[in-house]
Each structure stands twice: as structure tokens, then as C-alpha cells.
Symmetry: C2
Subunit: 146 residues, 2 copies
Amino acid sequence: MTEMHLRDALDTLKSTGVRITPQRHAILEFLIQSMIHPTADDIYRALEGKFPNMSVATVYNNLRVFKEIGLVKELTYGDSSSRFDFVTNDHYHIICDSCGKIVDFHYPGLDEVEHLASHVTGFQVNTHRMEIYGTCPTCIPQVTKV
Amino acid sequence: MTEMHLRDALDTLKSTGVRITPQRHAILEFLIQSMIHPTADDIYRALEGKFPNMSVATVYNNLRVFKEIGLVKELTYGDSSSRFDFVTNDHYHIICDSCGKIVDFHYPGLDEVEHLASHVTGFQVNTHRMEIYGTCPTCIPQVTKV
DNA sequence: TATACTAATTATAACAATTATAAAGTAAGA
DNA sequence: TCTTACTTTATAATTGTTATAATTAGTATA
């Protein structure tokens, strides 16, 4: 699973003429196998064992590159720093207001909203984003108790 | 229309025990009558004529207060700074990728998504956000032309 | 395989949005 | 009016992100 995604991602790099460096390889690998929708800093700290000299700028630069070629999505929630998500099939996120955990879920039918929005506003629609906020099962007891 | 919203908003302040200061009054008034979903800095600059000594911190503090009592929503898109939106009835935003314009539109049926998400993930759902991205009618000619 | 060219990385500085702090000022109830 | 707790102000600090310039390293080509 991870290997397949990684191989696909590296192919995408090759076919778009983006050089495959050890840092890029490692960042992609981490993004793919990570389930935590990491921040740039998460990635930086996760890889500083393997690349003691890597600069934060490298992380940001490459995340920008990955975004440009469509491998990665940037998630900007209310909190200070962006999170990054390796793009597989379309999914949405549900976020715990209490502990911040992000869980993926899938919902097929949001194309209709795009059509309506396009019709009402005259925009040419490209894409959309949606997030749901709530309390995760782990946090419900704490939040509910008086 | 503006007056009504403003009166309601001031009532909300009173009933939640938040003091009504001239700065708060002006920030709310600006948020309500402004159609541009302003940034904190937009607000600050819009009011520096009326309040030459107002501090940016005041703007941020009060936007936080307004958010806490539900008068205002913070919109965090990809770009650097947050935008703020006075909460009236539920609406969504469609954003032009080319010029950044934000247009409101209304769509009733997203409760179903909340239910499904709740069912699949076990979360207790509070709210959601959605934005649509595309090209606005004004920008379509520029983007389309070869 | 060696060479050369171009792009990527690093280290650092700069920047910009936001938040923290402490002192001075003020809204609103007694 | 007086008092007190909350707000504002001014400023400094913090933090996430980007720009710069020099060094390093992929990759195509011979």
C-alpha cells in the first residue's frame, strides 16, 4: 500500500521533471505512511534523525513543489500552522474540537453542491473543501461529564 | 438591515456580559456592513480614521471575543491571514482562485453529510465548514484566453 | 564513467500575522 | 458619583513561513 503510493509518487516526480532527492523521498515516504496529517514542523522533526543537516526551508520548499504537482494538499484550519495530506482518493476530514485528532471519512455526493454554486454565482468551479468538527469518541466522556 | 443586525449583536454582547466599548461597536458595525470578509488588518485600517490610537491587539482581542460568543466566524484559507465573517444565517463561500473574491451562496442540505460522518467515525458532530473554489465571471475571460 | 549544467539544499536572515505583557483608561452597576 | 473589574493601548515577543546567497548534488550527455 505505502510502497505502491510511494512508487506512484516518484513516477509523478519523474514525469513532471522534478528531481528525486533523498530529502524528497523521505518527506513523501513520511507523508504517505503517516496517519497524522503532519505540520511542516512535524515532518522536519520526524526526519532530523535521518537528515541532521536538513533545513526547514527544504521541507517547505518541497511541500510547495508537491502541492504544485498535485501530490499533496495543504489543510488550513483555525490553528496556527498548516497541515499536509498526501492525496490519495478523495476524502474529507472530521476534526476533534477537544484533542485536535483528524479522522478521514468518505462521502460521495458533494458534486451537486458544486453545480448549484456554479449555477447561482456564475463561477467556473474547480474544487471544494469541507471539514466537519465535533468531539471524538475518546473525548466525549470528558466533555460530557459535569 | 445593518441596524437590525447591529442591534442584535449588541444585545448578544449585553446578555453574555461583554462590555460594549466604542471600539467593539465600530468593529461590529464594520463587519456587518462590509461585504468583503475583511482581515484583521482591513478592520484596523478601516477604523484608524475614527480611532487613531486603536491598537491591532484590540482588533484581535475583540475578534476572539466575538468568535467565542458566536457572532463572528474565522475563515482560514490558504493565504497568510485569516478573514472574518459576521454570522447571519448559514451560508457558504465560493472563492475565486484568480482574484480572491469571495461570494456568499446558500445550500440547505449538508446536514446529511454530518450524520453520515458521525455514523462512520463515532464523533459527536458540532459543525462543519465548506468552501468552493473556482473562477469568477469577471476572471473567466482572462483565464480562458490563450 | 567523467563532465557540465541546472536545480536543490543549507544556513541564515527577513517578514508578517498573531499573541503576551503590563500600565493606563473606562464602562457599568452600586 | 464612585468603584472595580474589564478593556485598551503600546510594545515586545513569538511563531510560521519565505527570501537570499553560497554550497552541494542530480541527471543528461558525451
